[in-house]
């Protein structure tokens, strides 16, 4: 039996033909339904109909962001556009972005660092609610200490384990506040491969011994989440989010960034394809199952064969600025088509917040003149 993809016509049927006879169910489909017109002949940075949002998101919608590396781009783009993206932990002030990033600030709605798997996000929520206590929460970094659940946020480590715990307690409270204030939770799925604690099942964002800690095979083990596991974690995540913040909606994305390395024993290309396929399938099933869960196809936009790899940097892994811009343009055009005009009209003049009060300045100078 021929599959639909093999028997389908190669493009939309012209209008005059449609009026006379219908030869197949594909005749009335739009250009976006056909590979040639929808992909091969389309400009990859502006593919029409790729993202058809299920629910509106506006600049006033309170958005919480989390996920793997690619989610940072989403967060930054929302901030740059002055959308109501939540940030519970970043200090105010003219601190250069690269300095904030080095310490895990300004990347997401709270300072949790990269969250690669739905299990990690779920575990974080449960920890914040007091339902679980992660095993081995503090890892050593030379003579200093880091939070095993976010080892990147203090690159030099902290002086004492107690400092790690104090900082984490406050972080968890802030994270919960972020969720309770959020209307939309944007979550980028990154990986299926994790390292976890054998006895407790605690998962970690990095393998012990890479950034900090040390690898003991008796304590830690590798695990590659299956589709049913990812699906179940996303189900539970949704349930918990809705419990904490009734009415919250989710936007799921899949990171287009390939695995840096795999511990699966397979080739990294195979593992990447497998991992992304699982995540993509799970995200799609969630979006198909729930009206309050949507899927944002940044993965498809970046990995589109028509782009011929141009959205990847030379390492064929990191996404280029053009790729990020194309993905975010797709988001903003769907949700805020007049955004550019709004921005141009409402961008405040640069303010020197630290300036002395102007009126008093004038007074001081005038008085000097009288002296």
């Amino acid at each position: 039996m021929k599959s639909a993809s093999n028997s389908a016509p190669r493009g939309p049927v012209p209008q005059h033909k449609r009026e006379t006879i219908l030869v197949s169910p594909y005749d009335t489909l739009p250009a976006s339904a056909f590979w040639r017109s929808g992909v091969a002949e389309a400009e990859p940075s502006a593919v029409e109909g790729l993202y058809l949002p299920k629910f509106p998101i506006t600049r006033e919608t309170k958005i919480m962001t989390a996920g793997s590396c690619f989610a940072q781009h989403v967060h930054r783009a929302l901030v740059a556009r002055d959308w109501a993206v939540i940030d519970m932990e970043t200090p105010k002030g003219p601190i250069p972005r690269e300095v904030l990033t080095r310490f895990g600030y300004g990347m997401y709605s709270a300072r949790y660092g990269n969250i690669y798997t739905p299990r990690q996000m779920l575990q974080l929520l449960r920890e914040a609610l007091g339902d679980v206590t992660p095993a081995e929460p503090v890892w050593s970094l030379g003579a200093r200490y880091v939070d095993a659940q976010r080892p990147n946020v203090e690159p030099e480590g902290l002086e004492r384990p107690e400092h790690v715990r104090q900082a984490r307690r406050v972080h968890l409270r802030r994270m919960l506040r972020a969720i309770k204030g959020a209307e939309v939770f944007v979550f980028t799925l990154g990986l299926t491969e994790v390292w976890r604690h054998r006895d407790s099942g605690t998962v970690y964002p990095t393998a012990p011994g890479t950034l900090a800690g040390s690898y003991d095979p008796g304590i830690y083990e590798f695990h590659n989440f299956t589709l049913p596991e990812v699906r179940e974690d996303l189900e539970q995540l949704r349930t918990l989010l809705v419990l904490l913040r009734p009415g919250i909606r989710m936007v799921l994305t899949v990171s287009p960034v390939p695995l840096t390395a795999t511990a699966s024993g397979k080739h990294v290309l195979v593992s990447t394809a497998s991992s992304k396929a699982v995540l993509r399938a799970a995200a799609g099933e969630m979006a198909d199952s729930y009206g309050d869960v949507d899927y944002f196809p940044s993965y498809e936009l970046i990995t589109n064969p028509a782009a011929r790899g141009r959205f990847y940097k030379e390492n064929l892994r990191s996404v280029t600025d053009e790729g990020v811009a194309a993905a975010m343009r797709m988001f903003f055009q769907a949700h805020d088509p007049q955004g550019e005009a709004y921005r141009a009209a409402n961008t405040p003049l640069p303010e020197e917040e630290d300036e002395d009060d102007d009126l008093v300045c004038e007074e001081a100078l005038i008085e000097a003149a009288r002296s």
Binding site: I95, L100, E355, D356, V360, L365, A369
Partner: protein, 274 residues
């Protein structure tokens, strides 16, 4: 007076910058008397006007000629070329942000806990450095690195500004209640000195004899009629009087030119420093 033995040879000094130039202008007669070998010019503008002023080919000119012309400002531009010392007054090095950052976080490595968000010493140091560096880059990018420059930060607010009332310095007050404030403000100043030196710029921090503690200015340097009994619009805890201008000028003259004031002015200066 030392360092100016050749009569008839005068050095041209420019004091340029924000409204904080006013304190120096008000002290101009004392400066003239105390330093007869110096020919001092003054070019001051409100902070925002100074920020917007254009600096091209060694000439600083107001960007907006309709901006308020102050009575003692007889020109809209100044050529830096004739001056052998250019004192740039009023840079704040993101002081308000710095104070709030310190006041509203608990530093993990410090003992004091207020229940506010914790921050590591490493992060705080990096943030202070980042904010200061952005100002250093701005100064250097705008004016270039020139041996003739001496950058003088704006004075710290008066100690009285921590009292409730108009122009209350909220960040300063909150910071003054933290046990680690002096230590971290000293660190902030070290960072300013380090980053400026690395950029080839000379910075002259507020002389300690004018301060009340590490990061406030003594109330005796307040301008008359600006305390909390004044009409609200005239209350001012940030701009200093002529005594401050004189005191700081003397300190810079000694630092940069090796000069001390002559005659009566000398005794005045000595009285000030105690």
């Amino acid at each position: 007076m030392t360092g100016m033995s050749d009569k008839g040879l005068t050095q041209k000094v420019l004091i340029v910058g924000t409204s904080h130039t006013g304190a120096f202008y008000m002290a101009r007669e004392r400066i003239k008397t105390g330093y007869p070998g110096l020919e001092v010019s003054y070019f001051g503008m409100p902070g925002r006007v100074f920020s917007a002023a254009l600096f091209e080919d060694g000439i600083l000119r107001m960007a907006d000629i309709s901006a308020r012309q102050l009575p003692w400002m007889d020109r809209q531009e100044i050529d830096f070329a004739p001056f052998s010392l250019i004192i740039q007054v009023g840079e704040r090095f993101t002081l308000n942000h710095v104070m709030r950052l310190m006041a509203f976080h608990d530093v993990l490595e410090e003992d004091e806990r207020s229940g506010r968000a914790p921050m590591s010493s490493a992060a705080l140091t990096a943030f202070l450095t980042g904010m200061v560096q952005s100002r250093v880059d701005h100064i250097r990018g705008r004016f270039g690195a020139d041996d003739r420059y001496c950058i003088l930060p704006a004075p710290y607010p008066l100690a009285r500004s921590t009292a409730p009332g108009p122009k209350h310095e909220y960040g300063l007050t909150a910071l003054s209640l933290r046990s680690f404030a002096d230590r971290w403000m000293a660190r902030y100043e070290e960072i300013i000195s380090e980053r400026m030196q690395a950029a080839g710029l000379d910075v002259f921090l507020q002389p300690h004899e004018t301060r009340a503690g590490q990061f406030m200015t003594q109330d005796r340097y307040a301008r008359p009629g600006t305390d909390l009994t004044a009409p609200e619009g005239q209350v001012d805890h940030r701009h200093m009087n002529s005594d401050y201008g004189w005191q700081v000028f003397c300190a810079i003259a000694e630092h940069r030119l090796g000069l001390t004031p002559e005659g009566d002015a000398l005794s005045t200066q000595q009285q000030m420093t105690g």
